[in-house]
């Protein structure tokens, strides 16, 4: 049994001007110990998809269809209290922009202690010991627990966030752009820290990024999202070496790199689709170099090729029903 199974997930945002489907028929599974990457441009629905796993989709958003099955149980049937129990204990999240996620008027140690007490550790000395060991685990000297978040650098604050997320040794950790906005050397150190923790705790993780390189260094499998759909799902190496979907290919070709020969890079023309009134066709068709007449007529279905999933008319022979 997979640790997490997301089936036909659809998330809608009800707005005054209409309904935007931010996540559209998304399917994926996470096996124990695996790290799955979710990649796509801003607004492609990757964060919304992750938030619906944690039960964090709130009005005007709502899960319209589909199931989120965690350890065999459908989370959509869980009450708020049951979800609250699950969060922190079994699943946790590291968000982007740690500076906004930490309480500025509590010391770092107090904040970690607060969460520990919430998880049932009442003894004062035990709490202090755990705070020390958690900070040490993420590479911060325990003496620094008396510091306030503003006295920490961005990278250290992100380390504290990781410590907080790891408190109860959750089975599933959602990493939402954990290293975006930090300096390269700090990024590298955080990547190493996350990879270490993953191995030590046999962590299952869902990593959200807009940046292929982070995915390449942490994940074994990757799902590419575009306009709310997962357009391709594959092994990271397969995707990198032979992307099937034209969007995945364009993403890889637009990525500048510093090793190897200098290549001419190609940007993706146009801009992401407007989700309020999407066309009944492939959403990428307008920006796609390989688009045919069929692409403008109907939405491509999931097609399996060599155990990879791709949503593109180039790979399906089926005719449109419309």
């Amino acid at each position: 049994m997979s640790l997490l199974e997301v089936k036909n997930l659809c998330v809608d945002y009800e707005m005054r001007r209409g309904t935007a489907r931010a996540v559209n028929n998304v399917n994926f599974t996470l096996e124990k110990g695996e790290t799955l990457g979710l990649i796509g441009e801003s607004g492609c629905g990757k964060t919304t998809a992750a938030m619906s796993i944690l039960g964090f989709v709130t009005s005007p958003g709502r899960i319209a269809e589909g199931e989120v099955i965690f350890k065999g149980k459908n989370l959509r049937n869980f009450t708020d209290e049951q979800m609250r129990q699950l969060r922190g204990m079994s699943m946790s999240i590291v968000r982007q922009e740690a500076q906004n996620a930490l309480n500025p008027v509590l010391t770092v140690g107090e904040q970690i202690g607060e969460v520990l007490r919430e998880h049932g550790i009442r003894n004062k000395i035990d709490v202090e010991d755990r705070v020390d060991s958690l900070l040490e685990m993420v590479g911060i000297s325990p003496e620094r627990k008396k510091s306030y978040p503003f006295e920490f650098s961005g990278g250290m604050r992100q380390r504290v966030m990781i410590a907080l997320a790891a408190i109860a040794e959750p089975e599933l950790m959602i990493l939402d752009e954990p290293i975006t906005g930090l300096d390269v050397i700090v990024q590298r150190q955080l990547l190493n820290l996350l990879n270490d923790l993953k191995n030590k705790m046999n962590l299952t993780a869902l990593l959200i990024a807009h940046d292929l390189s982070v995915i390449a260094e942490m994940c074994s499998r990757v799902a590419v999202m575009y306009g709310g759909f997962i357009v391709e799902k594959a092994d990271v190496v397969d995707l990198y070496e032979k992307p099937l979907h034209p969007y995945s290919k364009a993403l890889i070709e637009s990525y500048p790199r510093i090793h190897g020969e200098k290549k001419k890079l190609v940007s993706i023309p146009g801009s992401p689709p407007h989700l309020l009134s999407p066309p009944e066709s492939c959403l990428f068709a307008e920006r796609c170099k390989k688009a045919t007449e069929k692409c403008f007529r109907c939405i491509p279905e999931e097609t399996i090729i060599d155990s990879r999933m791709v949503r593109c008319h180039l790979y399906s022979e089926e005719e449109c029903n419309v």
Binding site: V184, I185, H210, E217, Y240, V266, S267, P272
Partner: protein, 330 residues
């Protein structure tokens, strides 16, 4: 080379900020050396990259060059003329040919002005056009040039209705309409999605081609710097530690800090081995000591004399200079 070919000449540029430093229980006044003795030239039509991490002084440097803040010491020459000696009025005129593009397009463009008004404002301030009709045609041309087409659909748009990439094109248009000689682009693509970054960088390159513009491209991202820059200067704590042609720096880095930076960049290739960072102790306290190498506390190859002697930029290959005592044999 004649000074006319050098659009910008910077000599021993310094900017210090007074700060309070704790010494025991007392506060002591000290100077934070944000920019500490920079020397470089920018030729006409050249793109020079400044690469460094947050707090290394890149942005302070650009503000000092444009005299948005006044330098503590040193000289900045624009086409052979000393900027510091100019009156405020002269400087205002001069800024027409020295422009800046900022990192955050959402913060640097007035949200209550439409695209055409944003650019019209610039034309008015610098008194470029005689009539409204002339303004309209200038705005139309520049929007076409930066790729905001069809122009009509962007004319009355407000920033809230546009994406980061489109707004950054508006920033470019607003700057280019003044026909500057020299532009400082301060992290122009770091807030944008990877897929639109290349579009903006290509625009920058084509503007250079078309108008023979010079750029200072400031970034923390070596990969985009490689894409646009002819030469790169690596900055660490207010000083240039290594400079040279882009491919030479990336292919043959000499300074231990440059080596660490290059090793840290994540690559999209999942088959590549991940290396250990060649650093001693990244968390080591660093101060802005007056003498000695500022990278010493983190340097894996530092020796005792690094603490005493300030390394100066020494040529290690043609056009490639490194400020590290291991090359400074004098």
């Amino acid at each position: 080379m004649s000074d006319n070919e050098l659009v910008l000449k910077v000599r021993n540029l310094k900017k210090y900020f007074p700060v309070k430093q704790k010494e025991g229980k007392r506060n002591k006044k000290a100077m934070l050396r944000a920019v500490d003795g920079l020397n470089f030239d920018v030729k006409r039509g050249e793109i020079l990259g400044f690469v460094g991490e947050s707090g290394c002084g890149k942005s302070t440097m650009s503000r000092t060059i444009l005299r948005l803040i006044s330098p503590t010491g040193g000289k900045v020459y624009h086409c052979g003329e000393d900027i510091a000696a100019m009156s405020d009025e002269e400087m205002r005129k001069r800024r027409r040919s020295m422009q800046m593009i900022f990192q955050d397009p959402f913060g640097s463009i007035n949200p209550r002005r439409s695209v055409s008004e944003t650019i019209r404002m610039v034309l008015k301030i610098h008194k470029i056009c005689d009539s409204r009709a002339e303004e309209d045609s200038v705005i139309r041309n520049i929007l076409e040039e930066v790729g905001l087409t069809p122009v009509e659909s962007y004319w009355d748009k407000f920033p809230a209705m546009m994406s980061g990439g489109q707004l950054q094109r508006v920033s470019m248009a607003r700057v280019l309409v003044l026909k500057p000689e020299f532009i400082i682009a301060d992290e122009p693509v770091s807030m944008l999605d990877v897929s639109v970054r290349i579009g903006i960088l290509d625009l920058l390159l084509s503007m250079r081609e078309k108008h023979n513009l010079s750029f200072i491209y400031i970034t923390h991202d070596l990969a985009t710097a490689r894409y646009v820059c002819d030469r790169i200067a690596i900055m660490y704590m207010g000083r240039i530690v290594e400079t040279g042609p882009t491919e030479e720096i990336l292919g043959n880095p000499q300074h231990p800090y440059t080596k660490a930076l290059i090793a840290a960049v994540p690559e999209p290739d999942p088959t590549r081995e991940i290396n250990e960072l060649p650093l001693k102790d990244w968390t080591a306290e660093v101060g802005g000591e007056d003498s000695g190498c500022r990278f010493y506390p983190r340097c894996p190859v530092g020796i005792d004399s690094c603490l005493l002697k300030t390394p100066i930029l020494t040529e290690t290959a043609e056009g490639h200079k490194t400020a590290c005592l291991s090359f400074d044999k004098l």
